[in-house]
Symmetry: C2
């Protein structure tokens, strides 16, 4: 006899009562009452309830054991979706599972972060917690759909690089066939070069920062969403693309992770048609800082977030014109006032989410910028050849996936939204 | 006055003759005749022809210089798409470009591979060559669409790992805050653990192999497409998903990279509804090898490819049941005959494209398998906890993106389809 097709827990509600169904999943919860045992089975789609009577002669294996349940779909007002399974035959698909380090069927995980991280392959099975990565995946679908639609090409740049160019500090060294190489801190140089080939590119991939500080915001490895496009007038063209990308990510969540949003009880941000922009110098005045501050402190960002909500009804605010002094050498200055730059930060609910801007595109400007910073253009020869051979005005931005999800779910520590976080103390599991 | 919206070269054919249009791109080619100069502009969408008469008083900058051209759309039977631009005003958007190392406007790149790779940011601008990565991007769209549709969750696993577990050899060591760590050779262990959380997962990301041999098939870093799913009966369920994934990748190319297919003059493979399967022992007989061969040699694979084409009319052939001796410790044996495994290779036109199979899922089986190979289960504790806490029967496969594109375009060397290849001799640009 042909085996019955598998039914997902979420589809049990549309099963015809009386039909035989086959469910596969983990034992989520078992509750033995006097006359009956309830088994809740968890699969990728949701939960299903199985009712076992003594006459069924069935044993329920320990929680987390994977099982197959073949039984009868039966209407029940108490079951999720209004249908439960009765008269089951339960088959364990592995050996009885060890008791999990935390009870996964409870509404919240009752353990500290180190315990959760040490046992990530088990603790992240929790349905509301797992929802964080469902959000991440749905965000990526929206990210890519927006950019694919706008003529971008997805690319992959190397993660092993010859020199620790972009900042020099906080870089991991690799033993590359007996000579030193480094892990890329960002695809910045590559995505710029690729603008000369594809004009519009994006990349989703790991970046590596040998961040020696143990903070709630930093990881030694994270997923960077990088975008770069040519033939822009200035950074405002980049910001318009960023607006659409963020709107696309929110839409991706709404479309593909509605269940995750519900399990997490989230209110998703509304992305305005046009993101309000203030100049850095104006931002300093708004928060009452002195004119000569070179950067915005976290409390400044929070104050600006509150201001944007009050004056523009927006969760998002772009601050443009950051001082050239605080930006990397490839940053394009503001035409007419070279103290400022054609770059921006995007604040989301008062926290920095994205950095972007226009880049230099003339070889001579690169040479000048590097020499001014005491660096040798010769050390950047591989990168600079793209500019020698003609590069259009261009710009782009980078957004950390974990930071995005942390902001959307309101996680206090970015480690809560990284499957297997890496930091100065942790390189396992 | 509001500037005219940009027109892409590919859309020039639908411009109304007589309308003012604005084009942005690189100078692809300039040809000065006695009475007229032709300028071909290249943008991400294609080529457009601009006609400059002496009375226009316009200079054409050197090839590869980015330009803006504002002019009049004019019907012309000789122009690509039937429309050219006349009476242009040409503005260079950067300094005059240096002459490229190869002439990019010629049908083929006339240079050896080392020159092409040394100047990748320039040489890959060639339209037919660039098409390789358009194929890669379109393949990924098809890959993800197929899996998203089938309930898979996209994940990202760490690339810095604690131990060089999977094979031990050919691993890159990283200085991780003063102690040794390694670059992941594959997401194998992580994708398996994540089956316990998401049931069905996929990952697109870099993998690292310190491959000391300089061959046309191997890179030190490449993009791996990894898939893993739970609640399978055996490896045949995995193979069915693989079939749909490969069909989705071909469909992605057809849908999103039709222009690239045309520029490359390709014939895309047809993926049969069901991929023909032969057992390893049968494959040995088919190619006339002796019973005790532990693996298939390249000439065997070619012979099997020819056999599949002749007997099944298929570019694809799966060989299942590879000897356990040649497969990694996590491989599930064939029930009833443990010399063989529930694993497979997918051959495409007589070359290995994908490796996959069913994995062990019981903790005890892992402990036995590791001990049999003289390894300590304790060294795998972080990985094995997933199995201690209940894992369903599962399996998956991995496919190298560069290898896939190389096969589709018929590239002799995998470096031709890697933007910035990494090997024992090369870590730049």
């Amino acid at each position: 006899m042909r085996p019955i097709d598998r039914t997902l827990a979420a589809h049990l509600s549309v099963a015809t009562p009386g039909d035989a169904v086959r469910l596969c999943g983990h034992v989520h919860r078992r509750r033995e009452l006097a006359a009956v045992t309830f088994l809740v089975v968890r699969d990728r789609s949701g939960l299903a309830q199985v009712v076992i009577r003594p006459s069924d002669g069935q044993e329920v294996p320990p929680e987390e054991t994977p099982v197959e349940v073949v039984g009868v779909a039966t209407a029940s007002s108490q079951a999720p979706g209004g249908v439960e399974i009765t008269s089951p035959v339960i088959t364990a698909l592995s050996d009885p599972a060890l008791t999990p380090p935390v009870e996964l069927w409870r509404p919240a995980l009752a353990a500290g972060l180190p315990t959760l991280l040490d046992h990530a392959p088990v603790t992240w099975r929790h349905r509301a917690v797992r929802a964080r990565w469902e959000l991440a995946a749905a965000s990526l679908r929206g990210f890519r759909a927006t950019l694919d639609q706008a003529g971008f090409t997805e690319v992959h740049s190397p993660k092993i690089v010859e020199s620790a160019t972009e900042s020099g500090a906080d870089v991991f060294e690799v033993d590359y066939f007996g000579r030193p190489a480094y892990l890329a801190q960002s695809p910045q140089f590559y995505k710029q070069q690729l603008v000369g080939i594809f004009e519009r590119v994006y990349e989703v991939g790991p970046v590596f920062r040998a961040e020696p500080h143990d903070t709630v915001r930093h990881l030694a490895e994270y997923v960077s969403l990088d975008v770069e496009l040519g033939f822009v007038r200035d950074h405002r063209d980049v910001l318009r693309v960023l607006r659409d990308v963020v709107a696309g990510m929110v839409e991706g969540i709404e479309t593909y992770a509605a269940g995750a949003v519900e399990r997490l009880g989230l209110e998703l941000p509304v992305v305005p048609e046009e993101i309000p922009v203030v100049h850095f110098s104006q931002a300093l005045r708004l928060v009452g800082a002195t004119d000569d501050e070179p950067d915005l402190a976290p409390e400044h960002e929070r104050a600006l977030g509150a201001w944007a909500r009050e004056h523009h009804g927006s969760d998002f605010l772009a601050v443009e014109g950051y001082p050239m002094l605080k930006r990397p050498f490839y940053t394009h200055p503001e035409p007419g006032d070279e103290r400022w730059s054609n770059s921006f930060d995007l604040l989301f609910r008062g926290l920095e989410l994205v950095t972007g801007g226009q880049r230099l595109h003339r070889l001579g400007d690169y040479e000048t910028a590097l020499l001014q910073r005491g660096q040798s253009p010769a050390a950047y020869a591989a990168y600079l050849q793209a500019f020698a051979h003609g590069m259009p005005p261009h710009g782009g931005f980078a957004l950390g996936l974990e930071r995005w999800v942390a902001r959307v779910v309101g996680a206090a520590n970015v480690r809560e939204v990284s499957l297997f976080p890496r930091d100065v103390h942790r390189v396992s599991p």
